[in-house]
Symmetry: C2
Amino acid sequence: MASPSALLWVPPRGPPSLSPSGCVHRGMPGRLGPPSQAGLEGRWVPPGEEGYRLLKEYSSAFMVSQVLFAACELGVFDLLAEAPEALGSAAVAARLGVSSRGTELLLDACVSLKLLQVEVRREKAVYESTELASTYLARASPKSQRDMLLYTARTTYLCWGHLAAAVRDGKNQYLKAFGVPSEELFTAIYRSQGERPQAVRGLQDEWRLGGPRVVAALDPSPFPCVCDLGGGSGALAKACMSLYPGSQVTVFDIPDVVQMAKRHFSFPEDERISFCEGDFFKDRLPEPDLCILARALHDWTGEKCSHLLGRTYQACKTGALPGSYSVCITLSVCGVLHLEPCS
Amino acid sequence: MASPSALLWVPPRGPPSLSPSGCVHRGMPGRLGPPSQAGLEGRWVPPGEEGYRLLKEYSSAFMVSQVLFAACELGVFDLLAEAPEALGSAAVAARLGVSSRGTELLLDACVSLKLLQVEVRREKAVYESTELASTYLARASPKSQRDMLLYTARTTYLCWGHLAAAVRDGKNQYLKAFGVPSEELFTAIYRSQGERPQAVRGLQDEWRLGGPRVVAALDPSPFPCVCDLGGGSGALAKACMSLYPGSQVTVFDIPDVVQMAKRHFSFPEDERISFCEGDFFKDRLPEPDLCILARALHDWTGEKCSHLLGRTYQACKTGALPGSYSVCITLSVCGVLHLEPCS
C-alpha cells in the first residue's frame, strides 16, 4: 500500500536557529527560472542525471501552477496584503476559514516559489507577501492578475487535462471538460453567469498591463476610427483612448458580452468608446480605418479564420478614408503581430 | 468574442534557410531550467518585469506537464525510438492515427521542451527523439518513466485540480476527482483493473531508477531479514536483492496488490523475495530485523501514521535477533529519510 502520489516538497520548518529561508530557498541566488530552483528543488535526483531532473520538473510543473491558483482562490495574497503585519499560518487559516495543516503546507509552498517570504519571530514562523505577490496577485493592486489566474485555474487547466484527446481528435475538448459541444466555444467559456464576468475580468487584467504597450507599439494614430472586433469589455479600447485621445473606438462583440460589459465595467471616458452588438461571422461589421482582432483568431479553425479575415478586409476597405489606407491587425495570444494592409 | 485561452507558443516553422532549431530553441544555451527558457519563452513579457515573467511561467507550467503527458500517452516517443530515421509530422500523425494539425503542434512543443529535435531535410521538418526522450520516455528503455508519467497524468493531475478545496477542507479530494470517498485512498488509486497495474508499474519505474541508489545509501546488510511494508510489486525488494544477495525480503501489501504483483510482475530471483498479504493497520505484521515504509506515510493522516509506526516498532522489536537491533526506515516521496532504532 504505497502510493505514487508526488507532492511538492516543502522541507520541515527547522528550529529557530536554522533560518527558514535558508531551509526553503535553496536555489542559486539570482538565477530565475523555477520550477527548477523553486518548488521542486527538494526532489531527489541522481547526481549527474540532468535529463532526469528536467523530466521531474516537467512532470511536476502543474503543481507549481496549482499552488499559485489555490493561494489566489483562497485569498492568501489579499489577506497578507491587507494585514498590518506578517501573520502566522494559524492566523491565516483562521481568517480564511480553511484547514490549518493545509494552510501551513500551502504557505510554505508559496515561500518556495517566492510568492511569500517567511521569517521566525519569537520562535514562530510568520509570512508576508513578496513584491511579486503584492504587485500581481493582491486583488486591490492596479496590476493584479488575479482574475486571469482564477480563469486559468477554472477553465484552462481542465481543458488541458484532455490534451492527448485534443491532439487525437484535432479539436478542443470542451465537451469532455464541461459537457459543452466543441463548436460552442463561448458557451463553455461563458458557461455561467458567474464565469462570464470572470473570463472578461481576466482579459482586462492582461490588457490593463500590456494594452498601453501594445497600442503604443502599433501607433494607431493615423487611423481615427478603430474597431476592436471581439473587444469584450473594452479594455484594449481604453488603452487606445488613453494614449490617443483623438481616436474613436468601436467595440464589436456578441450581445451577451456587450450587455455584461455595460453592466459590470464603467467607461468614464466613454464618449469616444461605443459598443456594437453582433456576430462577427455573419452580421454587418463596422467600417473603420483600422480593425483589431486581438486574441481572437486562436479560438477558431483555419477555415473560420479565413472567413473572418475576408470579412474584416472588406469592412476596412469599405471604411477607408479616400486617399488613406486601412489595416487589419491581428494579435495572437503571445504578442505575435500580423499587419495586413487592406487598401 | 476574444478568449483568454493561453497556449504554449510554438513559433511558426521558418523557411529552410532559417534553421528550425534556431527558431524553436531560443533559450540561453547550457542553462537548464524550463519552462523559463523552453515552452514559454515566446510569451510576451514587458521588459524589466521579471516578477511578471515568473508569474507567467507558474501560471502556464501545467501546459508543460501536459505536453509531456500527451506525447507519452499517444506513443510519440515509442514511435520515434523505433523508427529507423527521423519522421515528418504527417508520418507521425498517420502512424499514430491522430490529427495532423494537432500532431504538428505537439511535436513542435516537444522540441521547445528539448524532448524532440527537429531539422529540415528537403524543405521538410523531420523529428527525432533527444537523448532525454529515448532514455526516459520510450517504453522499451530500461530507464523508462512512461508508466509513472501516465499515472501522474491520469490521477495526480486531476487531484491537484482541487488543491484549493483540499486546503480548505484539510483532506484529499478523491471524492471530487473520482467519486471515491477520501478515506478509501487506494480505491481511488486502484480504481479499475486497468489503473491498478498502471499505478504499480509507475512505482516500478521510479524504484528501478532510484532503488539501487537508495538501498546502497541505507546499507541494509546488517539486517538479514527485511520487510517492505506496502511494497507493492516488489521493486524495492528487487533492488535490495541485487545489491545484497544475502537478504531475505518480505513484501507486505493488501491481497489485491499481492495477487496482481504475482500475476503481472516476474521474480526470477524469487527464492529470497516472499509476499505476505494483509492490511498493515490491523493484520499481524512480519517480525523482521528491518522494516521499510517507503512512500507510504504521505498517504495517511498523522493519527494513522502514528498508529502504523507504533505497530512497525513493535514488530521490529519482536523480530530483532538477540543482541542485535532493529530499525524502521521511512522514506518519503522526496527521499527524506527517517531512521528509528526500535530496540
